[in-house]
């Protein structure tokens, strides 16, 4: 690592950490970048080197959590031998652990946001893109191993479905008051199993297949 990138890492992380502490201590956003950097004893320009706004910092928090998750996941030897279903499970369990480190911050920012339907806060965009990338890897593997059934039109939507699931898990976890968030674990387990059962080859596929056969051989 060169001196420059090392520095930039620390500055970038310093801003992120500073922002999180600010939210935790005051419960609201800093009034301006000027005020924020002044409190941090940092030049305002340094902030703009990495971020265009506070929104961009919030975005970076999500991406950081994602990157840490993937790193932790891939450091587990067993991960490579997981099936697609297990990879998604592994991702969610590890992700929740990462979220835990920032729970107070996340509660402060998202505790009262509805997070329903398509109206996700814009700072989730980067995380969403990264996750969907990851998810499409899982879907492709799943198709190869036939854990996931190839279905015209629908298959393309699977990444999106997994994303909705990630958001569901996040909402569930924010509201979870069980010890050690055990209920979130159960929620993850059950929802992923359902999703994969739905994506897997099922009676419906056989039915469609059979119906097609009957239709064509008329």
């Amino acid at each position: 690592m060169t001196e420059k990138t090392k520095n930039s890492h620390t500055d970038k992380n310093k801003i992120i950490d500073g922002y999180i502490s600010y939210i935790l201590e005051t419960g609201s956003e800093p009034v301006s970048v000027f005020k924020f950097t002044k409190d941090m004893k940092m030049k305002e320009a340094v902030f703009y080197e990495y971020f265009s706004s506070f929104g961009a910092v919030k975005k970076a928090v999500w991406e950081l959590i994602f990157d840490n998750t993937i790193q932790a996941l891939e450091s587990q030897e067993i991960y490579q031998s997981y099936t697609s279903r297990e990879k998604l499970l592994g991702f969610l369990f590890t992700w929740i652990e990462e979220l835990k480190n920032k729970r107070s911050y996340l509660l402060a920012v998202y505790g009262n946001v509805s997070l329903k339907n398509q109206s996700y806060p814009s700072e989730l965009k980067g995380f969403k893109a990264k996750f969907k990338d990851f998810a499409s890897g899982i879907v492709n593997e799943g198709k190869e191993s036939e854990e996931i059934a190839e279905r015209p039109y629908l298959t393309d939507k699977y990444q999106e479905a997994m994303w909705l699931q990630v958001m569901f898990v996040f909402r569930f976890w924010l509201k979870d008051d069980s010890p050690a968030f055990e209920k979130t674990d159960a929620a993850i387990e059950k929802s992923v199993n359902l999703a994969f059962d739905l994506m897997g080859r099922s009676a419906i596929d056989s039915f469609v297949d059979f119906a097609k056969f009957l239709f064509q051989s008329k």
Binding site: I78, F93, E97, Q165, A187, S191, L194, A195
Partner: protein
Amino acid sequence: MTNKINEQQSIPVSKVQRAAKFISTGAKVGGNYMKHYAKKVVNPAMTKDELHRNNATDIYDSLSELKGSALKVAQMMAMDKNMLPGAYQDKFTMAQYSAPPLSYPLVVKTFNQYFKKGPENLFDTFTTSAANAASIGQVHKATKGDKVFAVKIQYPGVGSSVKSDLKLVKPFALRLLNMNERELDNYMEEVEEKLLEETDYKLEVIRSKEISQACSHIKGLNFPKYYEEMSSARVITMDWMEGKHLKEWLQTNPSQEARDKVGQIMWDFYDHQVHQLKQVHADPHPGNFIIQEGDELAVIDFGCVKVIPEEFYSGYFSLIKKDLLIKEDELDQIFYDLEFISDRDSAEEKNYFKNTFKEMISLLGKPFHVDTFDFADDNYFQMIFALGDKISNDKMFRKSKQARGSRHGLYINRTYFGLYNLLNQLQANIKTTKPDWIKN
């Protein structure tokens, strides 16, 4: 379809979903009764057996999806009602073996949570899929050095959902088991306490150690060793007990001698616990025993232990004596103490319930009245079922606004009924030992 995964659809654990399950079972079961009566009009000869079988299937179908404490409670209440017709009984035992598995990533996560290490770091080998299902978790097989372990891991969130699960069992119990509301509430408190204990694996390790030590003198009886340093609130590590489950073992056509031997060990085990230790492994179902080489018996799973209070003990077992030589007023006192009758009962009610309970207890006490008892005698079990059926359809009981029978009786009845049932499956002839004070 798949891109609309919303929480209500995707989490069977959610309240709504569970409630819906029970209601749909309730409705289906109701439907079966309707069918039964409709058929009965056409064909008066139709037996209740077919009806019971249909019900059992429906209950079983929805319960096996639920797992967790709801499953346990329903199972147990069904057992307690003794009283279950054979068709139910079988289905419920089956439910033991059919819980949806924990994924391996969740197993890893659970290990990390408690030991800060994954299973592959704690053991030399660890099966990624479960070797056996349990009602609130699953069992993996692991090795380290030349030791083989059974590692039981609990499903997350079971403990915290006990309360809400129990609420959901209520309509089910009222409807299917013909319990009255008071009786149910009385049971529920006891059951809740026990279930919470069952989800506490730390406590299970402590009790396992205690009881296995206190019973170590019984010949042919084996217990796994428990490893505290590899156990936690939701993980138990113990020795792997090699052997066969009861059903498997019976398929090997064991000799009468072997069956008597295994049955006798079982009897001795319970005799010692109830009468000497006054605390008992209160979950005698086939999944909790393993039959080993040389027809020895291994006991696993001390999740459910009932401590028997002294007053209850003396009252309950004095009723089991063959000839009730006790004077009428002493007997009344016992019935009061065991909460079979109370001051709120009319004289007629008192008399009625006393007689019914006497009948019941003398029936359950039958094996105690002789030196050896042949549990292969199916007639005896038919009599128990018939009496159970009679009680659960009895007008006086259903009208009664009170709970009948001390809450402690719930687990003690369950224990004896479970034990008798196992001995019946073994077709064993047993020397029914008992403490001197019970002998006539």
